[in-house]
Symmetry: C2
Subunit: 346 residues, 2 copies
């Protein structure tokens, strides 16, 4: 395994990236020789030393991609950026995975253009895993593809259920289609036609689900088009952070009561609260794979902390070791899942 | 003011509806003579007595609309249902508002068919008000219209901002367009074209917003198409109830510690927690108006409790007293807001 990491991507790069790398090495998720850090060498080295991270190979790249940069421009103008160079390591076969916490749009566009798609796959999709009452729930797509066709959504279900089984250890993942009602016949044309494709397939499709089911443990994979998935994910993040700030205020008002603060109760409350916040935390799964591309592209949140970086490395390693892309290839290629156009177009 | 209430609509009807009516009368939000309860007379009377509600006029209707009934069928086959009869009171001018917690799809369809739209309005939209960090935030549409055109979304913004100003007392409500990025040029064709309409209008449009802004206080009105709005609302509900159940488990684990339970801390925590849950609670605004119809149609959540029913009555009264529909008429009719087709079609 060799994982290429865009050391300059993310709001707190390269410092937080290197702290995450150090954590991953320390916990035994990877060996230093299994990593390649791509970025401005002097800055990466400085951050590495500050993070007390053991020596790791650094691949120098002179440019960085801005968070606000347009995807197409990043691809055209930033040939020597840490992001593009990291993807090229994967393209050349030198690395099996590439991780970036940088500009998501640019990362998706550059990865698609440089790596291409797996045979038979029509579109790539970003698969984010949420923690819910019923364990992990993987939502695909959250923004790679806002012009979805039924065949795209159908393949998303197939790919994400392979990921959930291989990496998240979910047995026979239940696939749900995000809709505005459970009954057949509900929703717009896109979801109605997608439902027909799932119904006629061997996949473990449980039918339409609604927004509230996302956190209710009714399914393990939620399929939706990128516009809806992106909004849903951000609403959940926004509500989560609203709840967290309210809870912090609640805790603060508790501890202004000096007796309360002094009691063992106060400490216990704090501890329980922290566990609760962690359950809502995106960092648990570290990153979101861009499923369908010919390679492993792991997208990290720009605000990722060291723990999220560590988990992105861990999930990348599991993804490669489990052979997820081989399984997707085997599932999509020879079957009806590749769709009617596959024989000619691919 | 006369408000017609479908006494048989909702998961806990007629009991919870009558308890809500009793509360609204008790708090002075309405007088008994300002209400008409529509439903199976004997059942409504029984529930009224059980709720210790003062005598209210009951309009007998022999049928009820089922929660699972298809909207078109409800309209065709349930002419003597409590829902249809209640709407007819508004159509005849006898009532100024109609409230139902029953089958939302059927209520929307019957109301649109019986009452029609305000002059110049292209489509009606459901406006739900959420509690957020920045105060109330009204989201339109959450499911009345899943085949939206830019002109529909544009009018939604105009109507919901009138509602927010008149009923929620928000000065110059800021309108945001729900999108997958803030930058101009982001998103699908629908949002791009809608943005152009807002940009060229006198409305207080603040641009694209993203999912996380819904609870962040960046705007007072959020415009989106019905599919997205419906999913977003239900995701928020699902996450809210997930958080609430987690918190209850946390509280329970606190109180198994007997010393903790005995301390004043335990009681204070419970009280603070209840305040917190209330802040997340949809019941605060009681119901969601179907904006754009020629009348006031207030949609209640099927799971509404007495407090939500009381608040739906209170908001209905405020809506009528403030003359919201007159203001919408004045805003839409003579201006470009009515769109290019208005002169011929309406």
């Amino acid at each position: 395994v060799l994982i290429a990491i865009d050391a300059m991507g993310g709001d707190f790069a390269p410092g937080e990236v290197l702290r995450g790398v150090a954590l991953a090495i320390d916990r035994g998720f990877v060996k230093p020789e299994e990593l390649a850090l791509v970025g401005i060498e002097a800055k990466v080295e400085e951050a590495r030393v500050a993070a007390k991270c053991p020596p790791v190979r650094v691949v120098h790249a002179t440019q960085t991609v801005d968070m606000s940069e347009k995807p197409a421009e990043a691809f055209r103008r930033k040939k020597d950026s840490s992001m593009v160079r990291a993807i090229e390591l994967a393209k050349g076969g030198e690395a099996q995975a590439v991780i970036s916490l940088g500009n998501t749009g640019a990362f998706v566009a550059c990865a698609q253009l440089l790596l291409g798609l797996l045979p038979g796959v029509k579109r790539s999709g970003i698969a984010v895993t949420l923690q819910t009452k019923g364990g992990p729930c993987t939502v695909i797509d959250v923004g790679a593809n806002i012009h979805c066709k039924p065949q795209h959504l159908f393949q998303y279900g197939a790919m994400a259920s392979t990921f959930a089984r291989d990496v998240l250890a979910v047995q026979a993942p239940r696939i749900g289609l995000l809709n505005i009602g459970e009954e057949e016949g509900k929703g717009n044309e896109l979801v109605k036609e997608t439902r027909d494709l799932f119904d006629g397939s061997p996949l473990n499709f449980v039918g339409n689900i609604e927004g509230q089911d996302l956190f209710g443990g009714r399914c393990d994979v939620v399929v939706c088009e990128g516009f809806v998935g992106n909004v849903v994910l951000k609403v959940a993040e926004g509500l989560g952070s609203f709840v967290t700030s309210e809870m912090k205020a609640l805790l603060a008002s508790m501890t202004t009561d000096k007796n309360a603060a002094a009691s063992s109760n106060g400490g216990k409350l704090k501890e329980l609260f922290e566990g609760f916040v962690r359950r809502l935390d995106y960092a648990e799964y570290g990153g979101a794979p861009l499923l369908g591309v010919n390679g492993l592209v792991m997208i990290g949140h720009g605000r990722s902390d060291a723990r999220a970086v560590m988990n992105a490395i861990r999930v990348s390693r599991d993804f490669i070791k489990a052979g997820v892309n081989d399984h997707i290839r085997a599932l999509i290629k020879p079957t009806s899942l590749a769709g009617s156009e596959s024989s000619s177009a691919d």
